[in-house]
Amino acid sequence: MPSEEPIRVLEAKVAELRQMVVDGELDLKEELELLERKLHGLKEKRYASLSDWDRVALARHTDRPRGLRLVEAVTESFYELRGDRAIGDDPALRGGLARLGGHRAVLLFHHRGATAEEQRTCRSGMAKPQGYRKALRLMDIADRLRLPLVTLVDTPGAYPGVEAEEQNIAGAIAACIARMLSMRVPTISVIHGEGGSGGAIALAVADRVIMLENATYSVISPEGAAAILWKDAGAAPEAAGALRITAPRLLELAIADEVVPEPLGGAHNDPAATADALQAVIVRHLGELHVRSLDERMAMRYKRYRHAGGSRSNPDQG
């Protein structure tokens, strides 16, 4: 996001100045306050008018809170469960038992990796069939132990590889979608980074779909759409707008139920506040879902996805 540059420069200058004041070198309090107000104003102006393409950049920001780090911030305790009991364990799609705002839950989340080495083994959050089959196992555990299921979605997409095809990645994703629809416990999906296509929806067919303000959820990356439809890689920003993949747009389309505002400038500017806000929203929705009966929740979920994308008139019904 190059347009953040002037803000970053001013921020650095203000920080320098603040240090001078602290160190007692200069009495510049008034000037400092003025500058800080100006900076805040600049930020508000800048971030109030984020383009869809800006949000794509924020969703992919390297410092954005994600994966295990986000899980640790959102939960009081987390016990990881590993393996699909058939092929192996996928570090790109993880999960376990968690306590979250006092609630017990089963958690599933994509993990892109914090270090370069980890990003390689996690394939930047592109999960393999064993990841999705581990997810199926944990969904069974959630239903068996009557624990609500919370998923944190952040993936460029499922892993496209020869072995993944051999092990039927498509079937594993389809099975996850079917299993999420048949869950008997309350289910909440939080799309907080990139919600990339089939790899994302496999974990996002829930009673409530919550998005962080600068998260995206899309059938294809803007770059992919630009290449295929515009035949021009440079059209990615335009594609990002046309595809309506950002949280505010998806709220309008009723694909997201709620958008959680991010700290000024994006979640990476205040990961702790982001985690707190996320936890509060999850807990609120869990509370709302807990008071509903099983039948009511199952019927609502069925109806929601049976009519996903809205209903339309049949102008030429035959």
């Binding site: 592109m126 499922a158 892993y159 496209p160 590889g161 020869v162 993944a164 095809e165 051999e166 092990q167 039927n168 990645i169 498509a170 079937g171 994703i173 389809a174 099975a175 979608i177 079917a178 629809l181 048949s182 296509s197 089939g198 929806i201 496999a202 067919v205 959820y217 899309s218 059938v219 294809i220 759409a225 295929i228 439809l229 515009w230 035949k231 059209a235 594609a239 046309a242 595809l243 309506r244 993949i245 998806l250 389309l253 694909i255 069925y302 996805y305 049976r306 009519h307 996903a308 994308g309 809205g310 339309r312 049949n314 102008p315 030429d316 019904q317 035959g318």
Partner: protein
Amino acid sequence: MPIRRDDRGRYVEVELGRVEESLWLRCTECGELVFRRKLRETNHICPRCGAYFFLTAQERIASLCDEGSFQPLTVGHSSSDPLGFVDRRPYEERLAEAQSLTGLRDAVMVGRARVSGHPVMLAVMDFRFIGGSMGWVVGEEIATAIEGAAEGKNPFVLVVASGGARVQEGTVSLMQMAKTVAARSLLAEAGIPFIAVLTYPSTGGMLASVASLADVTVAEQGAMIGFAGPRVIEQTTGERLPAGFQTAKFALEHGIVDQVVTREALHDELGRVLGVLTEGGHAE
């Protein structure tokens, strides 16, 4: 509508417009110029080299169903453009063009039919219609067909010819994966069989949803079956694709489909499945 893989695993299309105008089709496998009428007789298999050309929905229905038995469902959704999408051209234009090319409202035809005498609910996709991609209309029509199958206690047969999700409908198209899978649960609740026929191509979001959840999955010889496209795999992973990757045989060997059958045998194969599943005898 010849479309075949080249030796790098990519696909070659012959321009539809010109082909439509022509009396002949050129086989992209062997180069033979084949008389159109002859192709219809051979079920769109090249008489020289045996290559499979994909079938339009209408051709597939003619090839699979007992003659004259297909009765279209009056679902009639059309022209869904949920995003008001425009790339180099408005999506509405592309839709209109595809409709005029195919004579279809969208990439699927649904209706009641008989196969070897067995009544079924049928949904047949058409690759000509924006790559057989699944947008809101396709999702809705498949879901409606499934509802009809569950109500009428007829087996549901889905013939897949789809490149995946309809990009021009953005995340709405992604939601159709959930929609069709949700509808599929009605069949399970009612104990109604679901048979998928995977043809060229069965890929992307279509394969990663309802198409992978059938009770019986038959692949047509010549099918392409996979989640990610060969080019995406090569570009993302740098892997070399093995020979026969994502073919019907590959899917059978890796436990992804139950059977591989030739196009000529498909009608009888479905008859066999339906026969063992539904004819007479005691059900519980």
